[in-house]
């Protein structure tokens, strides 16, 4: 059996206005308020700082302007280090990196270029974390170019060295680079990190290791593993798997 209750509420005008005013308790979340503000006026802080710099610069006496230019010049180098592809100061960062590369020996160049490729991945991570969509395309281009440079440098070393230890070290660094790339792909779902077949650094290393192992005497078990590694290499998209096996085979056996 259903019961119905009739509720009659009688309210005076004063009480009503008081209750209306209680609706002032409705407020947006504070974090949302500040986030929305930064989204709408996102350029505020940057433009304000640029304007302040201009204001300061023009208010200086001519004799200090030269000094200010020197400070600005070095300041730009400093700021450029944290810039990302697509930023105004990014070309400065690239110039600094190139000039540093001049002082690296031929032997050290592959390792240095792997470090730079890792830097490009770090930039992509920053871009993905801060959702700067417009910068993804230039950052991917930078990454692809850096990997192509790694391959070029590895090709030079593999053509001249006969030291398996050097190749092992480079292979391990290259594998770390690959892992970082995979992590970025999985975490942020960034597409376009695939390395073009011709510029895959692992391919160069795999080829060197295959040539080296073909000259050695292998046990039956090792030969089987070697054949699998070669098949992975021939497949054209399993260089990482091939490299793992070849590194195992080339490592000093007890």
């Amino acid at each position: 059996m259903a019961y119905f209750f009739v509720i009659i509420i009688v309210m005076t005008q004063k009480e009503l206005i008081f209750k209306i005013r209680e609706l002032r308790q409705i407020k947006p979340r504070e974090d949302w308020v500040s986030l929305t503000k930064s989204q709408i006026l996102g350029e505020e802080s940057r433009n304000q700082s640029v304007a302040s710099i201009f204001q300061l610069f023009f208010s200086l006496k001519p004799s200090y302007i030269g000094l200010a230019i020197v400070f600005i010049f070095f300041g730009a180098f400093g700021f450029a280090q944290s810039s990302l592809p697509g930023d105004l100061l990014y070309p400065v960062k690239k110039i600094v990196e190139r000039s540093q590369a001049v002082f690296v020996s031929e032997k050290g160049k592959p390792q240095a270029s792997i470090e730079l490729a890792n830097k490009r991945l770090e930039e992509l991570t920053k871009i993905a974390e801060t959702n700067q969509v417009k910068k993804i395309a230039p950052a991917l281009e930078e990454y692809q170019a850096s990997v192509a440079q790694v391959t070029k440098n590895l090709a030079k070393v593999t053509a001249t060295t006969s030291d398996p230890l050097v190749i092992r070290e480079l292979a391990e660094s290259t594998q770390k680079l690959e892992k970082n790339k995979e992590k970025l792909e999985q975490t942020y779902g960034i597409a376009g990190l695939e390395i073009k077949e011709g510029s895959n650094p692992m391919k160069v290393l795999v080829e060197w290791l295959i040539n080296d192992l073909e000259k050695r005497t292998l046990t039956e078990e090792q030969s089987l593993l070697f054949e699998t590694a070669k098949k992975d290499y021939e497949a054209g998209d399993r260089f990482n798997e091939s490299l793992e096996k070849l590194l195992f085979l080339s490592s000093p056996q007890e």
Binding site: L16, I20, R21, L23, K27, P28, I40, E44, F54, Q55
Partner: protein, 186 residues
């Protein structure tokens, strides 16, 4: 002073000025929209759109190159944008007829329980009644009693005389009172 420097300084000043407008009106505009749409998520979307459109218009109005009118009264300007966005929202979704206040959650479930119970108990009752009023009645009550706008300003925003606005306010209160005092069956 070079035109580049002047331009940069002006831009920084506009942003600073609009930043103050944002801080001053964000709560009011959010509340105004929230009371009409009954959803935290939609209120947030429409509020941010209101301020984005407001900022774009404000920026243009400061630029002498554009033949735009200067924003003289930011409050009226933002409320007008908010009103249009709420109308568009209901028009687009056809929600004006479909959504009944009784079936709409009083507040977003994400809000904490304390706030929820508060709204559902006392002021929630006023909110439900307010939601059943026609748009002009809602606006006049919100602007005068919640936002403390003087009758003169409310009249301007409604494009009515002050006397007509007082009459409207009187009728709106009466209507709200009737809604609240209407016997409820539970």
């Amino acid at each position: 002073m070079t035109s580049l420097r002047l331009g940069l300084l002006n831009m920084a000043n506009y942003r600073k000025e609009f930043s103050k407008i944002y801080d001053r009106y964000i709560n009011k505009i959010y509340r105004f929209i929230f009371l009409k749409v009954n959803s935290q998520e939609i209120a947030q979307d429409l509020t941010s759109e209101t301020f984005l459109k407001g900022w774009e218009a404000f920026e243009k109005s400061q630029n002498p190159g554009h033949n735009n009118q200067k924003v003289e009264n930011p409050s009226a300007f933002l409320y007008q944008i908010a009103r249009n966005l709420v109308i568009d929202h209901y028009r687009e979704k056809g929600k004006a007829q479909l959504v009944s206040v009784e079936y709409t959650p009083i507040i977003d479930p994400k809000q904490d329980l304390e706030e929820k119970s508060l709204l559902e108990s006392d002021i929630g009752q006023v909110r439900l009644a307010l939601n059943d009023l026609k748009e002009d009645y809602q606006n006049v009550i919100i602007w005068h009693y919640l936002d403390d706008l003087p009758i003169r300003e409310v009249a301007k925003m409604l494009d009515r005389t002050e006397e007509a606005t007082r009459v409207l306010l009187h009728r709106a209160l009466k209507s709200l009172k009737n809604e609240i005092n209407r016997p409820q069956i539970s």
